[in-house]
Amino acid sequence: MSRKELYLKVKEAATKLGVFKDLEIAIDRILVEEYEEPMGPTPFPSITELRNWDFKLLNRYRPFYMPFCDLCCLCTFGKCDLTQGKRGACGLDMAAQQSRIVLLACCIGAATHIGHARHLVEHLIERYGRDHPIDAGEGVDIEAPVTRLVTGIRPRTLKDLEIVLDYLENQVTHLLSCTHTGQEGSSIDFESKVLHAGMIDQVGMEIADIAQISVYNFPKADPNAPLVELGAGVVDKSKPVILVIGHNVPPAVEIANYLMNNDLMGEVEVAGLCCTAHDLTRYTPKAKIIGPISWQLRFIRSGLPDVIVVDEQCVRTNLIFEAKKIKAPFIATSEKNCQGLRDRSRDPVDEIVADLVNGRETGVLILNPEKVGEVAVRAALKVAPRRAKFKVIPDVKDVIEGAKKCRKCRECIRACPNNLPVMQAVNEAANGNLAPLAQLYENCIGCARCESACQADLPLHSYIVKAAEKRFKEEKFKMRSGRGAVKDTEIRTVGQPIVFGEIPGVIAFVGCANYANGGKEVAEMVDEFAKRRYIIVTSGCAAMTAAMYKDEEGKTVYEKYSGDFDASGVLNVGSCVSNPHIAGAAIKIARIFAKRNLRANYEEIADYILNRIGAVGVAWGAMSQKAASIASGFWRLGVPVIVGPHGSKYRRMLLGRKDKPEDWYVYNARTGEKVYVGPAPEHLFYVAETKEEAMVEIAKLCMRPNDTTKGRAIKLTHYIDLHKKLYGSIPDDIHLFVRTKADIPLTMKDEILAYLKEKGWKETMIPDPTLLPRLIREKVE
């Protein structure tokens, strides 16, 4: 319990009982209103309070470190060489250092979401009042499952969120301090802290999203959230275009408000990149989405934006220079991203607009969202005719001429994260053949490292965009806008089929766009598993990527599948901060279907999810520190996460060993007996080398000890079927997942029985599984 002991001396306080002067109040603990559930064992847990649970997980899913650097450079004793068992000047070894860096990343990620939530809540309170109710939507009684689970608080209005934020900031501070030189020395304890960081990150995100859903009236747990337009081709070039980029939506909302209030909504296009785009379309479906983070440069260089407004997170840090190149005024709007610009927050709008329009300032910092709204729109209206969509994407002729200057130094390839054959494509272009350049488009993440490295100073990324211009300009897709939470009523319907395994799994495609082989793989995976009646949940850049491919009928997955939380549903929950709705759905299954107490009852619920809910997260292009903390929030809850190849750079996996039977025992809650349940789920954090591997692994990781035989048979069917299709053989570990003959998929019965016989398989029992001795109802012995 966080000892949140408040003492107030208040000069004057207005209460329902009257106005008090010089009131002194001492309060042992803030109990924000009791509600139906009794308080669980771990409200506001400290950084060690759930350590026992973490150790259970880490004892089974052991960290495998892949150091991304042989050194530590974090203090002036360093750099220290930590290769092969050497210790640093502070005594640290490599395992501890790697886990420390993971903790640092997760602290950054959690701090980013929590800071985001804090700024958002402060802004909303200032503008809409502290009594604005929290309302996640009709049919959603459990409005904040993660917050309730972690803190024991049930937030009713915006002001309640502040108490939770105090706690989160406190925990971030403690966690971060653990990375100081000469603190933690055990990698396992660092990992436990990583899990804690992930948990509070989930709370922070939830706070942010329920606040904005409630106040901005985003779709509220709405399976039929509107389809919105996505792609570079959806922008109406004839109009002034305001581009918003980032994650913290108030400035973008105020742009929309200004347009609406001034009847300009049809006159100006507002298009977005990254999560701000998600959240803006949740606010108004008239806004458009360009695409994920990797579309920043290509869209700006295309010259379409007339004004660029950035807020925070995942914004290219040199956009101010890119904006300048296309002569578009640049507006920074966040304390966290000031870009060295003059703070014009207190200046009159007229002056700012004039300065931007006539180029006296190429960019400004405005920390007041309302003012941003007005300045952006007015500047766009004035600047658009002058700019005439001035672009910096070269003509074909320029590409060919430029390409001839290539020195064949290969630096572009060596700089490219995806090792794309840029030089070869450039050399073909020199001969007039732009097709190879165009081919790079799909796998190019738009990072421009090739350009930065180019010995001939060629704008290589622009070359690629030019070569793929047709495709780029025709990018037009539909995505269902972020629906927010899963309804309690939906949970009631699918809780049982999920827990019993009859809906084979819930798969969340989340995170960034740092794809190793293009985003198409994401869309393909979504389609495949939706087809197989899994429930697909998406968010963030991945949600957009999934929308960027069409089937033969020209439909995106959002058009093809419903937005229901049910078999074959493809649900976009929203932006990155909407991720807790995914965790929340799992938590709510435990509460609503299984009637577990969820309030401040973290261990029990996580144990429930780990053993019963076949959920898997896939962050195929995970890039950021936020993605790291989001993943760890899932781990602590018992949800495995798969990342794409670049995810190996997170430098640590959490891997199970199916060849060690001793790792896969659980208690049977009915009897207290220890029961072997097989490696389900086998891993907690896992990088897949290929899409094919990921797909097989997803199917496998959906299995849970609690699956009924029918459920297990369905899950095995998908696992074996995918394995056959993609690996050309049946898996060699089926015997670990078949518990009784009834688990065997009927259609494969003979084949599998033969295989099982060969392996000397024996039937095992299906327990009421738990890792927590305290949940054993009757002890044997």
Binding site: G85, E411, S648
Partner: protein, 179 residues
């Protein structure tokens, strides 16, 4: 391009870096001397072409002549099977790496941990990280990268080679293993 530098510019390794064998023969010799060698064949084996042949074909040659067991990672096993290779293990890269670092692991045949592991055909950075993991946490192993590009965290790796030289190197290794 300098030799014995990481292929991807920014993948700067620390103090301990792979040795570059003077000749293909050196690698062949290491393999011959090894008691329990293993080849880990990644998914790029089926994508990369050298002189019209796929990398996987060279791997198969080396495995056959050297009588070295192969584990195919990701879905690579499918291509081996399609080529009629039955003597093939299948396991994900992460799982192989995780087992390789465990001195107690008994190997695919139950006869004990390997002593020399040859890596072939993974994404550059992905292999880089796996080899780093093994460099630091599997002191009982020697590792070799058979790839075209220098992998600094292996025990031995070729410098960044032109296609032709790489092909010749692979062929020579296979050949030397015969004798």
């Amino acid at each position: 391009m300098k030799r014995a530098e990481s292929w991807q510019t920014a993948e700067i390794p620390g103090p301990k870096k792979a040795l570059t064998p003077k000749t293909p023969e050196t690698i062949a010799l290491f393999i011959k001397r090894a008691k329990r060698p293993l080849i880990v064949a990644g998914s790029e084996c089926i994508k990369l072409e050298v002189n019209g042949e796929r990398y996987i074909d060279y791997i198969i040659k080396i495995a056959k002549t050297g009588n070295i067991p192969v584990v195919a990672t990701a879905h690579t096993v499918k291509s081996f099977l399609e080529k009629g290779i039955r003597e093939i293990f299948s396991m994900s890269a992460m799982e192989v790496a995780d087992r390789l670092r465990d001195p107690e692991w008994k190997g695919f045949d139950g006869k004990g941990q390997y002593d020399l592991v040859l890596f072939a055909g993974m994404k550059y950075y992905f292999e880089w990280l796996i080899l780093s993991g093994l460099k630091h946490f599997a002191p009982h192993l020697k590792t070799v990268s058979l790839d075209k590009y220098y992998q600094p965290h292996a025990s031995w790796s070729f410098p960044n080679l032109p296609d032709k030289e790489w092909r010749e190197t692979l062929l020579k290794i296979a050949e030397k293993l015969k004798t």
